[in-house]
Symmetry: D2
Subunit: 341 residues, 4 copies
């Protein structure tokens, strides 16, 4: 099978390219640059990839002709502009960007401050949170955001089972700098970031509506979440520390049962009661590890989830969606060697 | 004035020693080692201090004879054992450890897992949270814990003014490694800590009862707090990200008014609405900077406070208590050059 | 093929285990603990490996019966004590420790400060610097040290081709903390290591005689090297910045020709003139990248080599030796996904 | 005394401003922005300084009228353009930039790739390496570069006493990111810098001619140095690891005697035989610590010097020059509290 990849030069794109190179069902990867008009040597742009391939100029007809599907690892706004021909043709797309994740055009335009895709296109898009749905047969799959994945996997068992006060959810999320991308900013200038913590987009992060939209699907009564993001002096990983009031009669057993039921058969999610994961135990892997505990004093449930933002939070989950779409085994191409130390 | 310092070798002790060396009202500092029986060269133990002084063997009579007051920068358990003669003699002590902070012996023994000081001694101890009380005339001052200071300064305006649901407080605190002390542990082994986040003592941190004790003084109706600590891959600083539900009728104006009223005349605490501090802006200083915001969607108030755990969170606040005790101007010896970058 | 692994709990051992798990020619890995007398659950000791295997008690007869070869990822001293039965039986061993690397017993005892292996055993050992020799048919292969590999790969083209003044070699080597192992030390206490550089074992590092021994094989006239090691505030990687005076008539062309000739067919070593590698471009890979330049002003040649100390500097090169020993293709099991960022 | 400061917004400028605020002989500091045409609020540009001052528009006449001297903490090129009126008027200037350090205009233009100052101005400039000369009575003092200071202090005793082969000097210098300034670059993008080492300006760093110029003053026979710079994943500090062949008959005693003679009365330089300094032991101070050792095997002398690039390597040495110029005691304003940990 041949696959196309638009946007190899970003962090998610590079990692996705590496995963695809090691995927046993992928024969060839064609790279495309959405703002290029002629071929470019990958070695010049990304010498560290040590590959001779060319990045081809973008041409939707050419992409559909030469590939069985295409990944977009582009920034918000690009697929809004470029995806129409693929959607019209029902050509399989996995989109790592946020463009088609929000079903409400108003919401997208408010949070992303960009024009939203057409209503009819949004209707055809599928939110591929792989641990809860299956992309098989879908043609336009939106790969969930990194913060959204981390948070939703932590909260799912509690929200789906109605164990918490739906208006009590607080999420204190922390992320390494690779989530902020390659663009040079003061926030990510080493001298500024090192030995520092910096909050950003407080109450304004565009993953908030994505998370709430999904929580409402699981429990209509969730009105909102309190969500904060802090930038860490490290490169890779997200931790979401989540807090929610247990409903009055909810016991430790109920909480444990919900997590066990939800994740005991999940390939990539591991939830453990009373043991909180470290960030690094998932670095370099597609795992999302979760620790949870009902505090008997406060009757709050603390749930801490960690994942590698470029793998389970981006390129890894994109491979999961790819595996679902084409009916490969879930772990195909994702048996990675962790960084571990 | 001569001052004694017991426990210069720990991180807080070293920093306190440096501050005292630069304090204009301190003529001489006598160093004591509580487990020493003969004098030791400071240069051998702490060459980086570049000082020729000796650390003298511990002797309470000698300490009282040669100093007008004494600081204890020792670990929990030491002053429980050693402070009696000073308390009996009403000799001025500033104790940086936790031994005398909790008024309840039961609580101390539960959280610290050590025998508590005598009831009568606890009655004479004074909790020196310098921004809210004054140590003038006190003889046994407990310098507040680093997490406790960070959290209490964040919550004080809201709790004192009854603006929040008292059972809704969630504190997600983060600390650099210097807070964990000099002892070698797996948690602070570089290869383990670097590029990592690690939770520790979840729901079990000994600063929890210290915080709740003080919150109850401000508002009896606060039943507990949900408090979590995460170890950061950096050396210095604490951030407390606090969340609490505003009471129904509370407005942004109420919140702002409370912070302005509380801190507008404070030398070391700066609170700003809608601007969240970075950790590094206080590193190397005695400031506690606070950002706060009422989220109109969730009606939660987010309050983020930062301080340098070894200064405002330990040795710096100890100097503040010293200044109060002896009626020096609040900023004496604390006009520090920040690390800034 | 079944392989044995003694010492999975150290950093090199864990990484080697991961590589073996992904090696297509390895059917089963038996783990052994050299100081164990009964089986131990791997999950308990190293939960982050997410494997159910047991670590078996050490028994040389059992190891030889159940495996076609064995890896030792133990610390210096262990194989001196334990390897005899394997050597006597000509059973294939790859030893990641330093015990059998030095051919001179006196030298080993001087630098390692431990009793050396028997002379007759040292004679049978083979120094497996994979880019220059082939372990095929060997039974006791010593996997080179991490600093030794980094330095030797940098210097080989110049020394083998007699392009430099043999007494002018200066090596300024830098290493991340994983090279210092899991043992808790002040040197690797986070608060001490962070934002710091620390020299250690200046002129006393045990890789010095290993490097000189090999350089002398290439050019008898090399008398010694000036070698310094500095500990970095990062986890993974070694950089060796090497300096040597070019002989008077040596030109840029000679230098380039030597590097091209030596490495143009090498799978894992890449040498580039005038472009100096970053440490991170090899993290997570088995590559050793080298940059070199003849400075026309000083007539010194600067050679900078980088590798991942746990891969090309330890477990990765051990896999290369394994591939050579059993005649698998050089890159088998080593097509790794780099950390890249 | 009133002093002017042009360029407070850079890292060196901010630190210098802090030092001046704490200097007992400075009554008032006037800030100037060389590219400003109207006053700017310091609080807006650098809120972390917590100062209400304004940055005034640049006007040389105004500067000379309202101050007794002026500091320039500007980037290369600025004082070439702006310093003329001050030089013509013999108005005291301390220039932290490189413009006037090189006495040869050709050399400046080659290494800095900018037009050099006028010959007559260069003649009046004074290279203020404070440990070896005295700026008293000088009017245009060039504050030495950070790498130059670190390297020259390491080499001075050996070069001045002709103990080494003058063509054998190798300097492997390492620097934190603050030396690279505030400008956003890929080299200092956190995701790129973190867990990485990056060489830059190999054989091309503009401090090379500055160092050689001074070494030649000490010993005309030094022809050049081999000098390499590596960027570290930390903020503050420079380490210069220097290597040089001892002359044949030179002994450990000779080396020690040279260092002792040179630095035993120096306020800020400490040299110790056989003990190599860590970077962090000088962070936040004006000290330069040096360790040295004659290797009996290689007959190379290893000299390792460390300093805080923004203090002894910039703003701190500028204060030393200021103290010399106005005959204040050497340590005035420089009794700093180290970061220590």
């Amino acid at each position: 099978m041949n696959v196309g990849l638009v946007g190899v030069t970003g962090y998610s794109g590079s990692v996705l390219y590496e995963l695809l190179l090691h995927h046993p069902n992928v024969d060839h990867i064609n790279l495309y640059g959405h703002s290029q008009t002629e071929a470019q040597s990958l070695e010049k742009v990304l010498p560290q990839l040590r590959r001779r391939d060319n990045i081809l100029p973008y041409d939707s007809a050419d992409i559909m002709k030469n590939n069985q599907m295409v990944f977009f690892a582009t920034s918000a706004g690009v697929t809004t502009e470029l995806a129409a021909p693929f959607i019209e043709a029902n050509f399989p797309v996995i989109d790592l960007a946020g463009d088609y994740r929000l079903k409400s055009r108003e919401s997208y335009e408010k949070w992303y401050k960009k024009p939203a895709p057409k209503e009819e296109y949004l209707k055809k898009s599928f939110y591929g949170l792989t641990d809860f749905v299956n992309s098989k047969g879908q043609t336009y799959v939106c790969n969930p955001g990194c913060y959204a994945t981390t948070t939703l996997l932590a909260l799912a068992p509690l929200v789906q089972n109605h164990l918490i006060d739906p208006s009590s959810i607080v999420v204190d999320a922390k992320s390494g700098t690779s989530g902020a991308g390659k663009k040079l900013t003061e926030l990510t200038h080493f001298t500024q970031t090192d030995e520092n913590l910096q909050l950003y987009k407080v109450n304004q992060h565009q993953h908030i509506p994505e998370i709430v939209q999904q929580l409402k699907i699981w429990d209509e009564s969730v009105p909102y979440i309190q969500f904060t993001t802090t930038l860490l002096p490290l490169t890779r990983g997200i931790m979401a520390s989540c807090y929610a009031k247990a409903k009055d009669n909810v016991t430790e057993d109920d909480v444990r049962a919900a997590f066990v039921r939800t994740y005991s058969d999940d390939t990539f999610v591991n939830a453990t009661e009373g043991v909180f994961p470290t960030l690094k135990q998932v670095t370099g892997t597609n795992f999302c590890d979760i620790g949870y505990q009902l505090n008997p004093v406060t009757h709050q449930i603390v749930i801490v989830s960690v994942l590698d933002n470029l793998l389970k939070g981006a390129a890894g989950q994109a491979i999961q969606n790819f595996n679902q779409m084409f009916d490969y085994a879930p772990e195909t191409g994702l048996d990675l060697i962790p960084v571990l130390l």
